[in-house]
């Protein structure tokens, strides 16, 4: 009897949760479906859901007309480059804060976090001006630097959280055996920290990939990543739903897949360890 009730409840929960889940996911699903329609089918009335002539034409049109590959390449360089550079700078910092803590460690960590709260629009013109003076406007280098800086606090925090979970005894044992600081970092900490570094990498690639203030304001044609490429569809000509969908699908697909792998790290990474 009790069993019957719980399995009934489970069925109800399942139905409800799947319903809500599909509703939330629907805009993405609809975009993906539309990307395989012809432009005429994309605006047909009533709308067609699954039964249309599937075509890959939009994907090749988007690539040919707008040189999608170049924007994709810019996104990869900017998101990947800023993340890798950030990790190279953050690993030593996080290491020293986790293993040689001082009285000021907490203050430094909190201060780093506070730089993340600086509203971008408040410093838009200074950065713009510096970029013009240094010739960085509309360059990948410039965006790599800016995105590295805005994500550096998150990278340091995430790495710090992971490093702190590495037991100190292991380090002490290594020191007893005469390991130098360099050896300690290279041969003991780094291998143990690889999973933490990997998830930090993942989350920050996602954040940098989707960043849409600096990438829109500091690029024009040359260094524009996918965020700017999609924004160029905001004042289109003629029929474009299917092509917009194809371009959107291509822009979000890599990150959707990466994102699904990083669900767990997302929570502690984005709340700075306040929720685990």
């Amino acid at each position: 009897m009790a069993r019957a009730i719980t399995s009934q409840r489970k069925a109800l929960n399942t139905a409800l949760a799947w319903g809500v889940g599909l509703l939330i996911f629907f805009p993405i699903l609809w975009t993906i479906l539309t990307s395989f329609k012809t432009e005429a089918q994309a605006i047909s009335d009533p709308p067609v859901f699954l039964f249309f002539d599937w075509t890959l034409e939009n994907y090749s049109v988007v690539q040919q007309r707008s040189d999608y590959g170049r924007f994709l390449w810019n996104s990869i360089i900017i998101a990947g480059g800023s993340t890798i550079l950030g990790i190279i700078i953050a690993v030593p910092a996080a290491w020293s804060m986790a293993f040689v803590p001082s009285k000021r460690t907490k203050d430094i960590l909190l201060w780093m976090l506070s730089t993340k709260m600086l509203p971008a629009v408040g410093v838009l013109y200074p950065i713009y001006l510096i970029f013009i003076k240094l010739g960085l406007l509309d360059t990948k280098t410039g965006l790599v630097i800016v995105l590295m800086l805005i994500n550096l606090p998150i990278i340091v925090w995430m790495l710090y959280t992971y490093f702190k979970e590495i037991p100190g005894e292991i380090l002490e044992a290594a020191r007893m055996d005469g390991a130098t600081l360099r050896e300690e970092v290279l041969y003991i900490l780094t291998p143990m920290a690889i999973p933490g570094i990997a998830s930090t990498l993942l989350l920050n690639v996602i954040l940098a990939w989707n960043e849409a203030f600096w990438t829109l304001n500091l690029t024009a044609a040359k260094a524009a990543p996918l965020t700017a490429f999609i924004a160029s569809y905001s004042s289109p000509e003629g029929l474009f739903y299917a092509k917009l969908s194809a371009a959107s699908t291509m822009a979000i697909a890599p990150i959707l897949i990466l994102g699904w792998f990083s669900q767990k790290q997302l929570v502690s990474g984005l709340t700075f360890g306040a929720v685990k």
Partner: protein, 319 residues
């Protein structure tokens, strides 16, 4: 149970003075005077600290500097010091109060929707069900969609008054389709942004719910507490910290939403937020002094929120 509770309470009050086991070797090093390690540690920290210090101080100083100047790069350049003139003019311009209102309505609306729906959704996802992993993936997905994509997809494929899917739905019910982004512009922006942030709230609240002691809930159930009461007196109080964190982090991000407005209304129809207004002053009308003064206001506003967030995060560092 009671002893467990008092124990954990003890641990909480004891936490700050008691050194943590992991940090003991390092502390011992301090005493035995391995200056080498400490100097090395400082050197290792230096690049990150110096970069962030520069990133913070240089633009901030420049913004402050410009905010006291009449500075129009396209119409005469630097026209000298004007004291607090820009600050007064920014606040007294006719666009200021509407932008404050738009900001409050959008941020408040999104916060209310995402937190309320987030709590409900997290509670639902915590129930036993088939295929929870897949549902979780479906629910989280919008968070990974770049803002320009979600804004454009919503604008064209859903909210377009002729070909949008919502227009089809409206017509199917015999209603006149809404011109979403002009007739209900603020609500439309709130809808788009809520769709993007609901996953974030849900995911964090779900993580928090999963750490809830199920024995407590079972005990309450045995004592005959109905589900609504169990939720109100056990689950909700347990979630209060996570809710606070969601509110604060989202506020900081929502205060600076940009792309969603940039590709939909461009700030028209009452959707010009403070961030968008400053952006227009700086890049569109190239009135740098005025825009910088606005920027300083935005920085102060963000810092007020940030202080509360830092307190929570800081406490967590001690524990």
């Amino acid at each position: 149970m009671a002893t467990q509770h008092s124990q954990s309470a003890d641990r909480l009050t004891m936490a700050p003075p008691a050194p943590k086991p992991e940090s003991q070797p390092a502390a011992a090093d301090h005493q035995s005077g391995t200056k080498h390690a400490r100097t090395a540690a400082r050197l290792m920290m230096a690049p990150a600290v110096i970069l962030l210090l520069g990133w913070m101080l240089v633009p901030l100083t420049m913004t402050l500097y410009f905010s006291f100047k009449k500075f129009l790069p396209l119409r005469g350049g630097d026209l000298g010091w004007v004291g607090f003139d820009n600050y007064v003019r920014f606040v007294s311009s006719s666009a200021f109060w509407p932008s404050v209102q738009a900001t409050l309505v959008i941020v408040g609306g999104v916060l209310a929707i995402t937190v309320v729906l987030g709590v409900l959704l997290a509670t639902l996802l915590n129930q036993p069900m088939w295929g929870r992993g897949v549902v979780r993936i479906l629910v989280i997905a919008p968070f990974f969609v770049m803002p320009t994509v979600s804004a454009l997809v919503w604008k064209n494929m859903f909210m377009d008054p002729v070909n949008g899917l919502l227009a089809h739905v409206w017509r199917a019910f015999g209603a006149e389709p809404l011109v979403w982004l002009t007739e209900a512009s603020t609500q439309s922006i709130i809808l788009i942004v809520s769709w993007q942030w609901l996953p974030f709230a849900t995911l964090i609240l779900l993580t928090a719910i999963q750490s809830l002691d199920s024995e407590q809930l079972e005990a309450a159930e045995m004592d005959g507490a109905p589900p609504v009461k169990r939720f109100a007196y056990i689950t909700l109080p347990h979630l209060s910290r996570a809710i606070t964190v969601v509110l604060l982090i989202q506020t900081i991000f929502l205060l600076s939403i940009f792309a969603e407005i940039f590709v939909t209304t461009q700030g028209a129809f009452g959707t010009k937020t403070l961030t968008y207004l400053i952006f227009q002053r700086v890049l569109e009308s190239q009135n740098i002094g005025l825009g910088s003064a606005g920027g300083v206001y935005a920085i102060i506003l963000a810092n007020i929120v940030a202080i509360f967030l830092m307190r929570i995060v800081g406490k967590n560092l001690d524990a």
